[in-house]
């Protein structure tokens, strides 16, 4: 799968499109399962991406706070 090249934004956009398609019932039953599977994969991808970004940001913040308190 192309997940290596996938960005969060692209994944989220695709997810939004799928949700919309399913929402207004423009997805044929024939490919519904496929679409839901893809959505699950994208959600998983986005959540991982968010979690990893969050933890990275938190690490930076912790570092900054340490600097701030020591720098005073």
């Amino acid at each position: 799968m192309e997940q290596q090249d996938l960005t969060y934004e692209a994944a989220y956009e695709e997810l939004r499109t799928i949700a919309e398609e399913i929402g207004n019932e423009s997805v044929p039953v024939d490919i519904l399962a496929e679409k839901v599977k893809r959505a699950a994969l994208l959600i998983e991808f986005c959540q991982q991406k968010l979690r990893s970004t969050e933890s990275e940001v938190n690490k930076i913040i912790k570092q900054m706070e340490k600097n701030a308190s020591s720098g005073k």
Partner: protein
């Protein structure tokens, strides 16, 4: 030790006192002078100040006497302030009534007895105003006046976010300079500064040119100074006059690096202060200002950092929420979709069941209807035909009855006619037939009196001879 004769200082001062008393006792004078070095001791109600007289234009002091006002004089000052709305303060030019006295300890002193409120504007102030007007008039490019403020090139310069490279113009031994450096370097935030000193004499109006030179030096150094700090070197109150000079005012006003002043006076604002980027009251205040400025920058950055942290956390939570919402939406909608489809299929299933049966039963009904028609109609048809037949029979019967009747009537008519015209019937009604020479005659031309004729009646034949022959005329006789 020489035996030079001497007197005690008290003897001398007593003689000075005597001489002054003899010359001035009971006398008072109206004097025009500038007030300077003024201070007021609230508790005792004493005003101490110097009265000075300056040379015109140059501004050099040519006379100066210490003065005091108390009692009546102090009250007069209060009246003066009340009447003019002008504080009794440094720099004002006044017309005062004074008495001259001498004190053996305090020396020569003049006592203010009265002050002319009408003589309001002090000469110093007038001079200062003249210099300001000159600055405005001669430097329209970089000095303008808006309201009671002066806009100069210098005070319009943007201040860098951090002031770290600083040039200080002051005198090396001044307490003010020490205060400034101490405050700057010992700041509690750990900020470091690079301070270059440009020492000079900063007192005495005559030194204005020297100070100006230091500014030129700063400019020529080519160093990227963030600010120039101008600090007074100490000395008496009159030392401020250097800061009211045209030269220095102009220098500061047009200087391309922001100038911060810390001249250290409390009671009036010098021309330099007006022209500078940021005037502060004291050297310490100038340092504090710089530190506070840098602190504001750091605080701004820290606030931004805080904002970034909060924003990114908000962003994460918004994204997590959005993902979770999409997740829920996909789950719900796909389930909805499947259940809707299921219902629709069930509906079609039921509909097929119902309609297929309906179709068949409708067909059955139609067929039965048609069959019924087919069963009854032929009999009706036959019965109608049979009726038609009997009608024809009846027709034939009635038509033939009429037929015979008409025929019979025709025959009977003829019968009647013939009966009427038959000769036998005519004779019965009294008519007679006349025979002459064996033939029936209807014409009497050939019969003459004497001719024999036979007369035939209905049941009798008479033979007769004619006796007369008369021509019948008109209507006489019986009608035929």
């Amino acid at each position: 030790m020489s035996a030079t004769p001497y007197i005690k200082l008290s003897d001398l001062s007593a003689r000075i006192q005597q001489a002054i008393a003899s010359a001035f006792a009971g006398q008072s004078y109206w004097v025009v002078a500038d007030v300077t070095n003024y201070s007021f001791y609230q508790q005792r109600g004493y005003h101490y100040f110097d009265l000075v007289e300056k040379q015109d234009h140059a501004g050099d002091i040519i006379a100066k006497v210490a003065a005091v006002a108390w009692g009546t004089g102090a009250n007069k000052i209060k009246d003066f302030e009340r009447i003019t709305g002008q504080l009794f303060k440094n720099g004002i030019n006044v017309l005062v009534k004074v008495a001259v006295n001498y004190h053996q300890v305090y020396g020569l002193q003049i006592t203010l007895l009265d002050i002319d409120a009408n003589f309001t504007i002090g000469l110093l102030e007038q001079q200062k105003q003249e210099i300001l007007n000159r600055l405005l008039a001669e430097n329209p490019d970089f000095i303008t006046r808006v309201g009671d403020r002066y806009l100069t090139r210098n005070n319009q310069l943007p201040l860098k976010p951090v002031l770290q490279q600083i040039a200080v113009v002051t005198s090396s031994n001044s307490a003010g300079y020490q205060d400034f450096i101490h405050t700057l370097h010992n700041n509690r935030f750990g900020y470091r500064f690079v301070v270059d000193n440009y020492f000079t004499v900063v007192q005495g109006e005559v030194n204005a040119e020297q100070v100006q030179q230091r500014f030129i030096d700063i400019f020529n150094s080519g160093k990227p100074y963030d600010a120039v700090v101008l600090i007074r070197g100490g000395g008496a109150q009159t030392d401020f006059l250097i800061f009211d000079t045209y030269r220095l005012g102009r220098t500061v006003a047009r200087f391309p690096i922001p100038v911060i002043t810390g001249i250290g006076h409390q009671k009036n604002e010098t021309i330099v202060d007006m022209m500078a980027h940021t005037p502060t009251k004291t050297p310490t205040k100038a340092a504090e200002y710089i530190i506070a400025h840098n602190k504001a920058f750091e605080d701004g950055m820290v606030a931004m950092q805080q904002l970034i942290l909060i924003r990114s956390q908000q962003l994460f939570s918004a994204h997590f929420q959005a993902l979770s919402a999409i997740h829920t939406r996909i789950v719900n909608t796909s389930r909805d979709m499947l259940s809707t489809q299921k219902d629709v299929l069930a509906y079609y299933n039921q509909r097929m069941i119902n309609t297929a049966r309906e179709v068949l039963s409708n067909r059955q009904r139609a067929l039965i209807g048609l069959s019924g028609q087919l069963l009854s109609r032929p009999q009706i048809l036959v019965a109608n035909k049979r009726n038609e037949l009997s009608n024809q029979v009846a027709n034939i019967r009635s038509f033939s009855r009429n037929y015979f009747q008409h025929k019979r009537m025709g025959i009977e008519h003829h019968d009647t006619v013939f009966k009427l015209v038959s000769p036998a019937n005519i004779l019965k009604r009294g008519f007679a037939l006349v025979y002459h020479k064996g033939h029936i005659t209807t014409n009497a031309v050939n019969i003459e009196p004497g001719s024999d004729i036979s007369i035939l009646l209905s049941d009798t034949a008479l033979n007769a001879t004619v006796t007369a022959k008369n021509k019948r005329n008109g209507t006489a006789g019986p009608d035929i």
